[in-house]
């Protein structure tokens, strides 16, 4: 079970108040987690990554296990503690603007 926390605006869009729990089959990486997330909540398509290029949007960050994983490649395995559900995968709206 993968645990994901969304930023406030995306919680509003998805009507989620706490964590999202996802089943991911196969390797656990950004791509498969985001695929599962978008499959559960189609409204998120385009809000976290560009729908055409699949690149992370510029002001989105991915944190887990006190690490900034934003610059990891989409297919790089996520930490074992994320895979096992011990740690949360955070989708963050980067600090910017007012």
């Amino acid at each position: 079970m993968i645990r994901v926390v969304l930023p406030a605006h995306l919680k509003t869009l998805t009507h989620v108040s706490g964590e999202v729990e996802l089943e991911v089959t196969g390797p656990v990486c950004q791509r498969t987690v985001l695929d599962a997330l978008e499959a559960r909540y189609p409204v998120l398509v385009g809000t976290i990554r560009d729908p055409a290029t699949q690149r992370r949007r510029p002001f989105i960050r991915f944190f887990a296990c006190e690490q900034d994983l934003s610059h990891a490649t989409p297919d790089e395995p996520l930490p074992r503690d994320v895979e096992t559900g011990r740690e949360v995968f955070f989708v963050i709206g980067a600090m910017a603007g007012g």
């Binding site: 409204v43 385009g46 949007r57």
Partner: protein, 371 residues
């Protein structure tokens, strides 16, 4: 009894203001989509309870929302705006070639003939259309791929397609305007386009009367006179009597002819409204006095309308999509400011009242007149 519903897009959400036909007591609903920029909302002329909204942020991109109950509830619909084919390049601010990149939807224009069809004007400039009530969007690529497209350059606000005017008598005719490329018209439903900028003269570009490159801020039309177009250009109020084939200046005796909005009275096709702004480098009203100017002669002769508007210490702007009119017998005029006020006049501009004072900066105002 008739009523009016004002759809207000702001930097931090949308608001819906409603009143009965007297337009005295207003109910304010919102913010909808709180925290998001809402560049534009507009209702279908065929089904007023169907409203589309453009919701975006720099963080999370573009969403389109649709309501089928007059704004009480909303549903996200399709948000994929993919340019047709390999998009190519336009000019960047420094003159280099820059790839076309989708940024946001500036303007939504529901069809006059089909409640499931809506046009969307986007940045970087292109025209999209849905025919399934927003589920999917497809580019009318003949505009962007016009032979001049590679010469188009963004204005300071981005290279946005901000104005979409459908002819009420010829469904194949659409006029659009792009900052800073100019105005364009199709007469074949969007397959092919031609620049319609003859007569425009822009000191801010190297060739002042070039075919494209003009910073058109807004264009409006009265439905009873589809060949008469009024334009607020960067500088200059312009008029065309031939659907844009040629333009002539009607700034006349305005104290300054820089500005963003322009609109036309619902029942008097020669009565038009602008809000003069000091200059291209000073985006607030001249002398700190907020004045709407009205011409009852289709331009050239203008009168200031000040009753109820602040006449000192006012330094707001009125953006290009932030003026609209209702169609009640005594035509109502509405505009929103970057200071968060929405002003209404229930008598064609003679007197004004602020419906709200403290919204986020207003990006757009649309009005629905309801039976």
């Amino acid at each position: 009894m008739s009523s009016v519903r004002i759809l207000v897009g702001t930097r931090k959400g949308a608001f819906i203001l409603t009143a009965d036909g007297s337009r005295k007591d207003w109910h304010v609903e919102g913010p909808l989509f709180a925290g998001w920029e809402v560049y534009h909302l507009k209702g279908s002329p065929l089904d007023p309870n169907r409203i589309f909204a453009s919701q975006s942020t720099g963080w999370f991109g573009q969403l389109i929302q649709r309501s089928d109950d007059g704004g009480a509830t909303w549903e996200p619909v399709g948000n994929q705006f993919a340019y047709d084919g390999v998009p190519g390049t336009h000019q960047w601010y420094d003159g280099t070639a820059h790839p076309w990149e989708f940024a946001r939807v500036w303007h939504l224009e529901p069809s006059l003939t089909d409640p499931d069809t809506v046009f969307a004007g986007v940045e970087d400039a292109a025209l999209f259309r849905t025919t399934d009530a927003g589920a999917s969007w497809h580019e009318l690529a003949g505009l962007r791929t016009h032979e001049t497209g590679s010469q188009w350059q963004p204005g300071a606000g981005g290279m946005c397609l901000h104005t979409i005017i459908q002819s009420p008598v010829n469904p194949a005719r659409i006029v659009v305007a792009i900052s800073a490329a100019g105005a364009f018209r199709t007469d074949d439903g969007g397959a092919t386009w031609k620049p319609i900028n003859r007569g425009l003269n822009s000191e801010g570009i190297a060739d002042a009367d070039a075919e494209v490159g003009h910073c058109v801020h807004h264009v409006t039309m009265h439905p009873s006179r589809p060949d008469v177009l009024y334009m607020q250009k960067h500088w200059d109020i312009m008029r065309s009597n031939d659907a844009g084939d040629s333009w002539f200046e009607v700034s006349g005796d305005l104290p300054t002819d820089f500005g963003f909005v322009i609109d036309v009275h619902a029942h008097e096709p020669e009565t038009i409204y602008v809000v003069p702004i000091t200059s291209d480098s000073v985006h607030f009203p001249l002398d700190g006095r907020l004045r709407v100017y009205r011409s009852r002669t289709g331009g050239n002769e203008w009168e200031p309308l000040t009753a109820g508007l602040p006449q000192r210490d006012c330094y707001v702007n009125v953006l290009r999509d932030a003026m609209a009119v209702d169609t009640l017998e005594d035509c109502g005029i509405y505009f929103g400011t970057t200071g968060g006020q929405v002003y209404a006049s229930a008598n064609g501009g003679d007197t004004w009242d602020a419906i709200v004072h403290d919204l986020p900066a207003v990006l757009s105002v649309e009005v629905q007149t309801l039976a």
